[in-house]
Amino acid sequence: MVIVLIALSIFVLSAFPADSGVVNSISVQPRLVTNLLPSLQETAADESLIQDVLTGSPPGAGQPEQEWTVYDPFPSGIPLDWLGPVSDNLRFAIDLSGRFEWNSQRREWGISQFYGFDLFKVFSGKEGDWGTLLLQGFATRINNVQPHPWFFDGPTDWEFVYRIFNFNYTGLAGGRFNIKVGHFEMPFGLEMLIDTNGTLRNVDLARNLGIKADWGVTVNGVLEHVEYEIGLGRGSGNEWHASGSPYEFVGRIGTSRSEPWVFGVSGFYGDLYRPNVPGNTIHRRRLGFDVSWFGAPVDIMSQISFGLDGEDTVVNSLIELGWRPASETTLFYLQLRQDSRQFDPEWSTQIQTRLGFQWAVDNHWVLSGEWVQNLTNYQSLPADTTFRMQIRYRF
């Protein structure tokens, strides 16, 4: 069904190409010039020079070109101008990807497929912007994927997944105090600094908190030295469930991400919906700190959080070393993760490394891979290995 819809969309968009717009200018071609221009007719020496500068070969031509080439990082491959006023401040892309993973213990392949769209629109009036709509919806197919997010019925299933699906009202204070309503990403830790939606690379948000995005409301904004987002959510994640009265409070306050050093403090408190547990909720609390340094071609990002999973005390930490060549089309990263929990009275720890890359082949294709190695695992579980590869195409 989804494939049919996508094919239909492509056909419709191909059948109605971009309009060149209304003609509102008139060109008057030269003809009667010479004897009617006494005041501007005589060409002085300096005028010839001006003409040369305006139309001649520019001095300095021949310098290396590629150094000055940077692509639009947010391409909207489908022509939108034919939509008329609707296309104002609109970006739209179809986003397709396939993910393949192999685990050394299971010795089987798991495959995930994502067929979705990404829409971004700024609503604006004559006196300024007043809102931003961001919709990302993905028909998601998993085949033999274990473990899988709890809202899938099994290791092989279809689900429509809302990644970010919200409206941010920005009309109150010009971006400094906004109100967001809809499906929002948890503002916690390093997740606020990087985009991990649909990427192999992630910063452990979903596993740590038990939820990555939720339906609800946040207040958010950017001040001169501080960025913040504080939200209240339903506590049920991808779908709205009220059974067991789930909820969560979550928020992060951090320094500006434009600086080389970025610091943040985050908090999370909630009861999260789970269909198969007594009372239909699990309890999570976290207090987190993150510190990042962005310098030269190297990034170092780190976070630590403490809290409770039900009655169990939990301590998580993550440090990532990232390296990008000057073109920044490729990212190599090495993560070290530690996750300790106290199963009364014993502590158990998982230590994991992740070595991965992301390669933006062009402004449509992204290829990425990741090697996940558990160095020690919980309660003597085997130290298994997982390889993942992902192909993503946006247009």
Binding site: V33, I50, G60, D72, F74, D88, G125, L134, E224, A296
Partner: protein, 324 residues
């Protein structure tokens, strides 16, 4: 599982076929962020801003390469945003963020410009060059303030020839200057209509007083006498006072003559007299200014009365204004 195993070589082969030797990145839109912090740092009195997204296409590359004093390999096609910053409801200036490739990765530069495309300031939204802080603490950022396209071009020549900026900061300074030139040229070209709208109001207010409202009206293609040089009508605005009475008209034209190439603003009063003629960004020389300024307060209604190119242009403009 046999099916999956058969699928993998096909997928790998497919990808080997589509690998392209180009550089880019395709990010999801959730990573899009407005330069909120930079807007209010560069315009401390600003209170709101408006996003103006436009599509940059191959035709803009052609125009850009005509203007820039260096060769480009411009592939930034796609949707780009310009931000109009307001202060108490009036345009205080514009912001445009450009990504340039530097020695230490991408440099994101947030440019603040006035409506005449002069630099009000710039800030790094992102820069990992270790020389960045030294360059910003020196006289370089202050020196760029007030510069337009031509001055930035001169400054670029100066820096490239080894002047003014310390050697270890020179590469970053050149990146900034080239970014500034591209920003001005691209903004003028891509957001031409939006800039005209922004410029119309202060021009109307300077001619007709501070309490006017200007409304743009779409120009229709109409026959125009052949004046013998390139003249293009680009916009027309009805000017009204607060009571809603019409008190004049603004017309924007582009003109291309020897020694004068640019946009001209024409203010016409309700009696169809030329009230003021201004060249966008300033007159290039005294001669051009005199040729047009001497027409102010005049009515030119007959083609045969015209003795100069300026008068021919004025006659065409007044005829355009009189047309229904």
């Amino acid at each position: 599982m046999n099916g999956i195993q058969r699928l993998i070589p096909i997928v790998v082969a497919f990808f080997m076929c589509v690998v392209l030797p180009e550089q880019a990145s395709a990010q999801a839109y959730c990573a899009l962020r407005d330069p909120v912090r930079e807007v209010y740092q560069l315009f401390p009195q600003g209170d709101r801003y408006r996003t103006l997204t436009a599509t940059v296409g191959p035709e803009h590359r052609e125009n850009l390469s005509q203007q820039l004093p260096f060769t480009i390999h411009f592939n930034e096609f796609g949707r780009h945003s310009l931000y109009e910053v307001f202060q108490s409801g009036r345009t205080a200036g514009i912001i445009h963020v450009r990504s340039e490739r530097g020695r230490w990765g991408l440099v994101e530069i947030c440019w603040a410009l006035d409506l005449n495309m002069k630099v009000l300031g710039f800030q790094f939204q992102r820069c990992r060059d270790p020389q960045a802080s030294k360059l910003m603490e020196g006289p370089f950022p202050q020196k760029l303030k007030g510069m337009g396209f031509d001055q930035l071009k001169q400054e670029l020549s100066l820096v490239e020839s080894g002047g003014e900026v310390p050697a270890d900061q020179r590469a970053l300074a050149i990146t900034i200057l080239k970014s500034g030139l591209k920003t001005i040229a691209l903004t003028e070209d891509v957001w031409r209509d939006e800039l005209s709208e922004m410029r119309a109001r202060p021009f109307a207010e300077s001619v007709f007083g501070s309490e006017v409202v200007s409304e743009s009206s779409e120009l229709q293609p109409i026959p125009v006498p052949e004046v013998g040089f390139k003249l293009e009508f680009k916009g027309e605005w009805a000017v009204r006072n607060k009571s809603g009475d019409s008190i004049g008209t603004l017309i924007l034209t582009s003109i291309d003559l020897a020694g004068l190439k640019g946009d001209l603003w024409w203010a016409i009063d309700s009696e169809r007299r030329l009230k003021r003629i201004d060249c966008q960004g300033g007159w290039p020389d005294e001669r051009s200014m005199t040729a047009f300024k001497q027409l102010e307060s005049r009515r030119i209604s007959d083609f045969s009365d015209c003795a100069t190119a300026a008068e021919l242009a004025a006659e065409a403009v007044l005829e355009q204004q009189e047309s229904p």
